[in-house]
Structures are given as structure tokens and as C-alpha cells.
């Protein structure tokens, strides 16, 4: 038997039953090989060292610390879920209200279109879309903020609300800019 095979068998014999024939061959090898004899003593020393050590005990208060973290994890998870639901709900509500309100504007614009002013009709449609997007983002941001505040999450940990306000303001400004320019063209055309 080679030394490498003998050492593999030494390790194996610590974890499971080795057939008697292999055990006999291993013993014969160890009787003749002093290096493998020392090797077996060393791995038995290691096994005895590890095997003699009991489980170390946890620090006091581990259970309480775990339950505090579990409670925090639950709050964060609930806040994320509620925020998403409230955001979607607020968005749908605003869409419905503004959709109804702006239906009148669309009908009026269509009236202009019937009289030949297609550009004016398209302009009104674009205006409505801008209005919808900006109001939804603004209200969604506010809804998000309210829910997170209710759950005790610090404002400093959030980026969603400021981001939504910025997007909303940018869209509103762009919409105002387009409408203002378009009116200017109309006035100059009338003159």
C-alpha cells in the first residue's frame, strides 16, 4: 500500500466504517512506515482537540436581539408593500379624476379640430398627458412619504419623494413652456 492511499484510508476511517480487509492492510502499512504512524498520531490529536470542545454558548440577550431585528424586518417589508399599493392606488385615482375632468377639454379640442385647427387639438392632447404625468408623480410621491412616515422610517433614508417632486416640477415646467410658445404663435398669427 502506498503512503498516500494509507493516509486517505486513515481519514476515511475517522468518518465511516472501513472494511476489515482494508483495516488490516492499513495496519500492516503503518507497522512498517514510521511517517504514516506519526501522521496517524497527528490527525488523532486534531480529532481529539476538536472532539473535546463543547458548543460555545451564545451571549446573553441574543434571543431579544434577534426578535428586535425580526420586528424591524417586518416593518420594512410591510412599509415597502403598503407604499407600492398606495402609490398604485393614488395613481389610478388621479388618472380617473383627471381623465373625467379632461374629457371636456378633449371634446372642446376636437371641436377646434373639426373647424380645421388640427395643431391646436394635438397641442391640447399633449398638454393633458403632461398634466396627468406630473400630477400622478407629485401625488404618488406624497402618498409614499405619508406611508413611510406612518411606519416611522426617517425621511433622510428616502430618495423617492424628492425625486418624484423634481420629475413633477420638470414636467410641469416643460408643459407650461410648450403651451406658452404655442399661444405666442397663435397670437402672432391672429395679428
Amino acid at each position: 500500500m502506498r503512503c498516500s492511499r494509507a493516509r486517505e484510508m486513515m481519514s476515511l476511517s475517522l468518518d465511516e466504517e472501513v472494511p476489515p480487509e482494508d483495516t488490516r492492510k492499513l495496519q500492516e502499512h503503518i507497522d512498517e512506515c514510521v511517517q504514516c504512524l506519526h501522521h496517524r498520531e497527528r490527525i488523532h490529536h486534531i480529532s481529539a482537540l476538536f472532539g473535546s470542545a463543547p458548543l460555545v454558548k451564545p451571549t446573553d440577550g441574543l434571543v431579544e436581539a434577534v426578535m428586535r431585528r425580526v420586528a424591524t424586518a417586518e416593518i420594512l417589508s410591510a412599509a415597502r408593500g403598503h407604499s407600492t399599493v398606495s402609490l398604485v392606488a393614488a395613481g389610478l385615482l388621479v388618472l380617473c379624476v383627471l381623465g373625467m375632468g379632461n374629457l371636456f377639454v378633449v371634446v372642446s379640442a376636437y371641436g377646434f379640430a373639426q373647424s380645421g385647427t388640427v395643431v391646436e387639438f394635438l397641442s391640447d392632447l399633449i398638454g393633458i398627458v403632461w398634466k396627468l404625468i406630473s400630477v400622478v408623480t407629485l401625488l404618488g410621491g406624497i402618498g409614499w412619504e405619508v406611508v413611510w412616515h406612518a411606519k416611522g422610517i426617517a425621511v433622510s433614508q428616502q430618495i423617492v419623494f424628492p425625486l418624484m417632486v423634481c420629475v413633477s416640477l420638470m414636467l410641469t415646467a416643460l408643459w407650461a413652456h410648450i403651451i406658452w410658445n404655442y399661444r405666442g404663435v397663435n397670437v402672432s398669427q391672429e395679428r
Binding site: H44, A53, V56, P58
Partner: protein, 204 residues
């Protein structure tokens, strides 16, 4: 008195008290695994907490056909392996309370032996990389078979046997090297423990 299966069911239905019972029951096993893998009492406490939080948040994915402690230790082992891989070199921080190292009341002499043994074990485990350390710890402290260890660390039974063999080779090699130096400085190294008060530890 509810059993573990009933605690798990109750936890899934929102009963936090039931989960407290689970934590109380398994905190020793989880903390010990984290401490033996990270070799750092402070990091081990954080890892134990994180393991339980992950078990709580993923409890719905637990398969009741499997052993719960095996599933829980699997979460701990994977978390600790990630921590070990992220940090280049483990900074060992020993336990500072005698109560944690000894069963029952610890007299100073027993505590000294236990402390010395703990130091020797940390020194030995520190030689092993994240590939080998969990396998050795699960084999010796949890008396798991190679098949069970394989399930936890995601290896075949054969691969676990090979790693155990290699880990023992590395440790035996280190014992041999330290044995040479221990002749001149017997108190150093985990092999040096043979020459000290804790020599009974090496008798199988």
C-alpha cells in the same frame, strides 16, 4: 407544549412567540457554528442574528420533509462563508466570558484549560480556507455524516470526503511543523498544548 413543527406552523401564521421558542432552542447551535467559522465572537453574534432573521423571512420556503436544524445551519454556513470570502483575513476575537466556554459553573482552573483549548482550536481552524473550515466544523461539532454536510454546503458526499481528508492533511502538516518548533518553545502553537495543562485534550 408545542413541538418544533407546530412552532414553525404558528410562526408562518404570524405568531412571533412561536419563533422566539425556535430561536431559544437553536441559538447555541447557530452561534457555535458562526463562532467556529468566523473565529470572531463579535462577528459571530451578528451572523447568528442575521441567520435567524433570514430563517424568519424565508420560513415559507422551508421544506418540512427536511430537518429544520440542517436547514437553519445551512443558512448560517452560507452567510458565514460569504463573510469569510469578503474579508481577506479573519481577525480573531475570542470569547470573553468563562460561561460561554465552560458548561455549568466554571472554576478558574477549568476556565484556564477551556480558554487555552479555545485558543488552540481557533489557531487550527484559522489555517483552513472557507472551502474546508465549514466541513471540518460540521463534522466535529455537529457529528454530521459526509452526506448531511454535503447537503448543507452544496457538495457531493465524495467531494466532502476529499475535503475532509485534505483539511486533515493540512492540519497534520501544521502540527508536525509546530512540533519541531515546540521542542524549543513548548507553549506556542496549538501543538504546544500537549505540553501544558490541557494535555488531556489530546487523549482520544
Amino acid at each position: 407544549m408545542l413541538n418544533e413543527r407546530q412552532w414553525i406552523q404558528a410562526t408562518l401564521q404570524g405568531d412571533k412567540e412561536a419563533f422566539t421558542n425556535i430561536v431559544e432552542k437553536h441559538q447555541g447551535a447557530v452561534f457555535n457554528l458562526a463562532y467556529r467559522l468566523l473565529l470572531n465572537a463579535v462577528e459571530a453574534e451578528d451572523a447568528a442574528q442575521e441567520s435567524f432573521v433570514r430563517a424568519y423571512t424565508h420560513l415559507s420556503t422551508y421544506d418540512p420533509a427536511q430537518s429544520f436544524i440542517t436547514w437553519l445551519l445551512s443558512i448560517t454556513a452560507h452567510y458565514c462563508i460569504d463573510v469569510l470570502r469578503r474579508s481577506r483575513r479573519a481577525v480573531t476575537v475570542e470569547l470573553d466570558e468563562s460561561r460561554q466556554l465552560c458548561d455549568g459553573e466554571a472554576d478558574p482552573e477549568r476556565y484556564a484549560v477551556a480558554r487555552e483549548r479555545d485558543r488552540a482550536i481557533r489557531q487550527a481552524l484559522d489555517l483552513l480556507s472557507p472551502h474546508y473550515r465549514p466541513i471540518v466544523v460540521l463534522r466535529y461539532w455537529y457529528d454530521m455524516s459526509c452526506k448531511e454536510i454535503g447537503k448543507i454546503v452544496g457538495l457531493s458526499e465524495g467531494a466532502v470526503k476529499v475535503r475532509l481528508h485534505r483539511a486533515r492533511e493540512m492540519l497534520a502538516q501544521s502540527v508536525r511543523q509546530q512540533g519541531d518548533t515546540a521542542e524549543s518553545r513548548p507553549d506556542e502553537g496549538f501543538n504546544g498544548l500537549k505540553e501544558t495543562e490541557g494535555n488531556a485534550l489530546f487523549k482520544s
